[in-house]
Subunit: 220 residues, 2 copies
């Protein structure tokens, strides 16, 4: 379960304050599939990074299963994240010097004893249609192929929570449907908790509920 | 006018050949707005890079207004590209050390005497809704904001040809519509030639015709 209370995030650029989040509270129960929509710049990625413990809020608190990030050391927060959270970044964040296989394997190595089993990795690779591209480095992959490698990397350890930032933004409808079917299947059969940002209204419909953001707030 | 004849592009990865383009021919007349659709990995970005003179085909020829890339020196091809072609990249390719204003201004400086006028730049910035973000560097911008800066940069010199690789992939519907309206307006009022890759069927409908790609070929 993810709990967030009164999240505020203010960035400073020169003399100006950018209010990226203006007081966001939410609760995602274990096993939910929540989608997040809203205009460009409305604070979606900022929210996801804070939920994942990658960014500190200016004020407010996030807890994972009752453990508040603010009460943990950096090392403890990193360990919590590595064991529980898979993250698909809006710009993929693949390591440029490793090929697709290496990027996915690195995620398994980092998880140590919590690493996913090889059969799960192989099944994901086939479901996402990237088996023929495992030897390619990121700059030798199409945009949509990079995105699918990023998705495989996020899912390979069967994380309890998946935070996905526009995972179908670079995909055609056929591949997009395949990805959403995979996410829905993992949610229904493994009870994986998913928070997914999307601009695609059809993709938003895959969640069991949708949060709308505008100007740094969740709006009813 | 853009003419392409029998384009083949083969990448080599280790022992394996990847046939990204398998014989593509096309003609885009001056003033056309052509959209390109197709599955992830079907060769769309490869085609666009070759049309823009950024990548050499393995075989085949591209000509811009009758001048074949293959007959030009590297310096001549670069000059032809800078004067005539604006490119919106699938991953934006903004310079990380410059802010949004700097990225856009650099495009004007590079064009030298062919630079667009400041009024055109200012109008684009307002139409794309990025005026409040000009002091932000790319990693201080949302995904959709980076995309809109990349679009402004490509258009600021009023290039005769715009090659746009999924320019609305990271945008919500409102911003996406705004971008497509801008492109349609430039095409209709200035006669700007546009070749746009998109996964969004609604966006594809903005062109006067659509090319479908599958497995490295244009299919009827
Ligand atoms: N530098 C490279 N080296 C090897 N293979 C490459 C390279 N660039 C692209 N490819 C391969 O060529 C094929 C076509 O790539 P391309 O980027 O043109 O696809 P695309 O249609 O733009 O896909 P997407 O919709 O996912 O962006 C892909 O299968 C990709 O893996
Ligand atoms: N590091 C930063 N420094 C300054 N401002 C930032 C930074 N990161 C984000 N912002 C600003 O905060 C606002 C929210 O950004 P965020 O990335 O959360 O938006 P988003 O909803 O994900 O947008 P998109 O749909 O375009 O990806 C944006 O206006 C952006 O310019
Ligand atoms: Mg975002
Ligand atoms: Mg592409």
């Amino acid at each position: 379960r993810i709990t967030a209370k009164d999240l505020v995030k203010i960035y400073r650029i020169g003399e100006v304050d950018v209010h990226a989040l203006r007081g966001v509270s939410l609760r995602v129960e274990a096993g939910e599939f929540v989608t997040v929509v809203g205009a460009s710049g409305s604070g979606k990625s900022t929210l996801l990074h804070i939920l994942g413990g990658l960014t500190h809020p200016t004020s407010g608190e996030v807890s994972i299963d009752g453990r508040a990030y603010g009460s943990l050391s950096d090392a403890q927060r990193t360990a919590l994240r590595r064991r529980n959270i898979g993250f698909v970044f809006q710009k993929f964040n693949l390591l440029p010097t490793l090929d697709a296989r290496g990027n996915i394997e690195l995620a398994r190595e980092i998880a140590g004893p919590e690493a996913g089993v090889p059969q799960h990795r192989d099944r994901l690779i086939d479901l996402l249609g990237i088996r023929a591209r495992l030897n390619h480095r990121p700059n030798q992959l199409s945009g949509g192929e990079q995105q699918r490698v990023a998705i495989a990397r996020a899912l390979v350890n069967e994380p309890r929570i998946l935070l996905a930032d526009e995972p179908t933004g670079n995909l055609d409808s056929k591949n997009s449907d395949a990805v959403l079917q995979v996410l829905q299947e993992l949610n229904r059969s493994l009870g994986q908790t998913i928070v997914m940002i999307t601009h695609n209204p059809d993709a938003a419909a895959f969640g069991n509920r949708t949060l709308h953001m505008r100007d740094g707030q969740i709006v009813g």
